[in-house]
Symmetry: C2
Subunit: 353 residues, 2 copies
């Protein structure tokens, strides 16, 4: 890619407009990324040096948990302290819940006339790996465009959605009483990537039990030093509990983060301050040595995932005829599949792209 | 690998014993594969030319659907026609359902004293990709050892389990009335890989409705030519329906396969003949042009998956220091993650392993 390439030139021009916070340019960039247009690559490369200023918050939860209502309340809370907020809303791929989407967007529309709030839905493309990458890259466009906070809202039902949420700096998992969300969360591996839990619809029966179950699961899951902190913390009472210090220390060093569990009623705005505070506390923790180590580990994970994807697509493209020939040989049993794989790898490495 | 390598020499010796159908050698080989021992590779390469004689049948379904009971009945049915049968039982990774396993093995134990039946449980290793590969490779050991039929029994709850089942030549999905299995099946993509459905516990309420729902889903999912065949087929009545011709023709060519839906009560042996017949019919179909094309497509899929895995593990191993350096550069924003990925790929290809 050189700057003589017209695609690249367009990308550079658009990058300039994005850095100048031009809303239409930002919208176009999000579309380029979502559509996987060839110009998206050069654009993201141009924007990279200007990213890193945003705090990216994943918000995930089962359909009906009240995710969007809570997002709406979070936007209002952040706007009150003059933060610029962008939202990447990832549509669920399930054909059954498509109807909820429009509702979500409508519910958030009271921020539509606010220039400091930008909401973008990503289309459903069917391939979740791509969706996860799109969400991350659109968040980076918003980052470069100077939004202090970027919320990534996804329906947390499967492994792929967990992947999207866990790409954020801080991940909020929204559950509602009586939905079996706790077990669901454990199954999907959400427990490992959640930095805070909001037990929404806390006026419903079972809210206390849900919160208790989550606290218990978290404490069982935590390392010993955090368990000690949890027990001390758990001695506290009432509303203060969720906001107690979630950071365990070990020889003066922060040893890790124990997610908070906060109850709220998003539809009435009750308890939203608690959710905001829990997330803020995690944001502060990210600045500690342990927090920085976690951010670095996630970045390393992203690099490995990108490398994996780039290698595989290059290999499948470059080796298409060799793969067909290998299948022929394996089918007639003149070659075994294990040796065939070794040869294909050697072939790929011996012929730089 | 040369035959001077002691691991390889042991593998060759074991391969000879397996081809001679030595039961203790077969058990040892299964353990080598399951434990991912280094000798497993050479062994599988030695055995490959002697594979291809087995019909590999995946049996999958939710916990409680009666999978193991049905497997037990299938073994009996196949034994009555003097086929040698091996079973690869894949333990669920879920910590919650571990208890069911022992029960399953006990239920199948009436075949334990039969030399022509071999049952092997794979351990839970936590990494499902590995489990899927182990199941496939253990099935190949059994294939080389002259078992005509290899059943791979897995709990069909997630994408990975679907992957295990779909590696088989024919896949039977076991559902029970009132478990919401139909919707579950669609979500997990089981519909695409099922070649026959057994609606077990057919004396329970809702069995007819479950069978009807599955038939309907299948017909909606099928290509137009198959839909026509389905409608003709659906005109039939009662027990015969499931065994009607599931193969649509298009200009004299077989166009595809429409899965059968057969009701049974495995615990009493009722309807098991119907399940056996449905599977046999699919086995015959595999010999047609369309069936052979499907087998080839699955083999090609396996080669691509192995290639992907081999490339990724070689790259992560060989490039470990380069990846760390890339993360440093990205973190300080002196390099963007997109360019870093390109460079890592180029580095990998320029330095043959």
């Amino acid at each position: 890619m050189t700057s003589n390439d017209p695609g690249s030139a367009r990308a550079i021009a658009l990058a300039h407009q994005i850095l100048a916070r031009d809303v239409r340019a930002i919208a176009r960039a999000a579309r380029w990324v979502d559509d996987a247009r060839p110009e998206a690559g050069p654009l993201l490369r141009c924007l990279w040096p200007h990213t890193g200023g945003s705090w990216i918050v994943g918000v995930t939860g089962s359909p009906g948990a009240g995710k969007s209502t809570l997002c709406d309340q979070l936007i209002s809370a952040y706007r009150r302290r003059s933060e610029r907020v962008a939202v990447v809303a990832v549509d669920p791929t399930s054909p059954y819940s498509g109807g909820a989407i429009l509702g979500d967007r409508v519910r958030m529309s009271r921020h539509a006339s606010d220039d400091s709030v930008f909401i973008r839905s990503l289309a459903t493309r069917g391939h979740m790996g791509g969706l996860s990458r799109s969400a991350r890259d659109v968040a980076r466009v918003f980052d470069a465009a100077g939004y202090n906070i970027v919320l990534i809202e996804t329906v947390g039902v499967g492994q792929d959605e967990v992947e999207i949420a866990s790409a954020a700096h801080s991940t909020l998992v929204v559950v509602a009483p009586g939905m079996g969300d706790g077990v669901q969360a454990m199954k999907a591996g959400i427990l490992e990537c959640a930095d805070a839990f909001a037990v929404n619809k806390a006026d419903r029966e079972g809210a206390d039990a849900s919160a208790r179950d989550l606290e218990l699961m978290l404490s069982l899951n935590a390392p010993a030093t955090l368990q000690a902190a949890f027990r001390a913390d758990h001695g506290g009472t009432g509303a203060g509990r969720g906001l107690a210090n979630r950071v365990a220390t070990e020889g003066g060093e922060e040893a890790g983060w124990l997610p908070s569990v906060v109850k709220c009623i998003a539809s009435r705005g009750d308890g939203v301050d608690g959710v905001v505070a829990a997330l803020d506390q995690h944001r502060s923790w990210l600045g500690t040595r342990a927090g920085r180590a976690r951010l670095r580990a996630r970045l390393a994970q992203e690099v490995r995932a990108s490398l994996r994807e780039a290698l595989v697509s290059a290999a499948l493209l470059d080796l298409a005829p060799e793969i067909e020939a290998a299948v022929d040989a394996i089918e007639t049993r003149s070659m075994d599949p294990y040796s065939a794989t070794d040869r294909l790898v050697a072939r790929f490495r011996a012929r730089p792209g």
